[in-house]
């Protein structure tokens, strides 16, 4: 009964790891408690997005991940 949370970029630095297994289900309201204050405040940033199984949530506060889902926490992008 687990959800995999993937930390990308500077969120991986904050988390001190690239991914973590957390108990399913996982909702937006759970994140601060599960991930800690630092990550939770980074998630509040409008430019931080959340994807579930590769689908980016239009409203990240609607997060509702089930067992086996992969939740990715995505800081602002920069490529090229």
């Amino acid at each position: 009964m687990a959800v995999t949370v993937v930390f990308i970029g500077k969120l991986a630095d904050l988390a001190g790891q690239g991914e973590r297994e957390v108990t399913a289900p996982l909702e937006w309201a759970d994140l601060a408690g599960v991930l800690g204050e630092d990550l939770a405040s980074a998630l509040d940033n409008d430019r931080t997005k959340i994807a579930v199984n590769g689908a980016v949530l239009a409203d990240k506060r609607s997060l509702r991940a089930q067992d086996g889902d992969e939740v990715a926490l995505l800081p602002p992008v920069s490529g090229g």
């Binding site: 993937v6 990308i8 970029g9 630095d13 590769g54 990715a72 992008v77 920069s78 490529g79 090229g80």
Partner: protein, 149 residues
């Protein structure tokens, strides 16, 4: 429309890729292209480009769809590195072959603006004082906003 979208884990030669692309489109009137490299300025020792497998390459394909929907092209190439890069190494190559030159130009321009500030990449630089995450410059956001994306 021939499409060549690749997320590359190793170094590549933009000149060679561009030569092959040109050969693959002998009938096109024009080919516009852009090569972006790691700038060897400051004390940047290494650049890391982070990708996320569930988003980065699928997002590049979505970008190619957008470009093809917007401009009549004969061919489109988007190659982008992931992983660790040394100064001077090629990060990105975008090329568009088209009957009309403005279509080729705008397609490349648009794709580059998207890759810089709207695609699923994350970038950090290692300097003498350690690693630093890089966010798009204000200019990059302004460039992208020209296209309503």
């Amino acid at each position: 429309m021939a499409r060549d979208v690749q997320l590359l884990e190793k170094g590549f030669s933009p000149g060679k890729a561009l030569g092959l692309f040109a050969k693959a489109h002998p009938l096109s009137g024009g080919i516009a292209s852009f090569v972006g490299k790691v700038r060897p300025d400051g004390d940047v020792k290494v650049l890391e480009l982070v990708s996320y497998e569930h988003l980065t390459l699928p997002g590049m394909e979505t970008l190619a769809n957008m470009v093809e929907g917007r401009w009549p092209l004969d061919g489109l190439l988007i190659h982008h590195r992931t992983g660790y890069l040394r100064p001077g190494a090629a990060i990105v190559l975008v090329a568009a072959a088209a009957r009309h030159r403005r279509d080729a130009f705008e397609a490349v321009d648009f794709a580059m603006d998207h890759l810089k500030s709207r695609s699923w990449f994350w970038k950090r630089e290692k300097r003498s004082d350690g690693w630093h995450w890089i966010e798009p410059r204000e200019q990059d956001h302004e460039d992208a906003s020209r296209w309503d994306i």
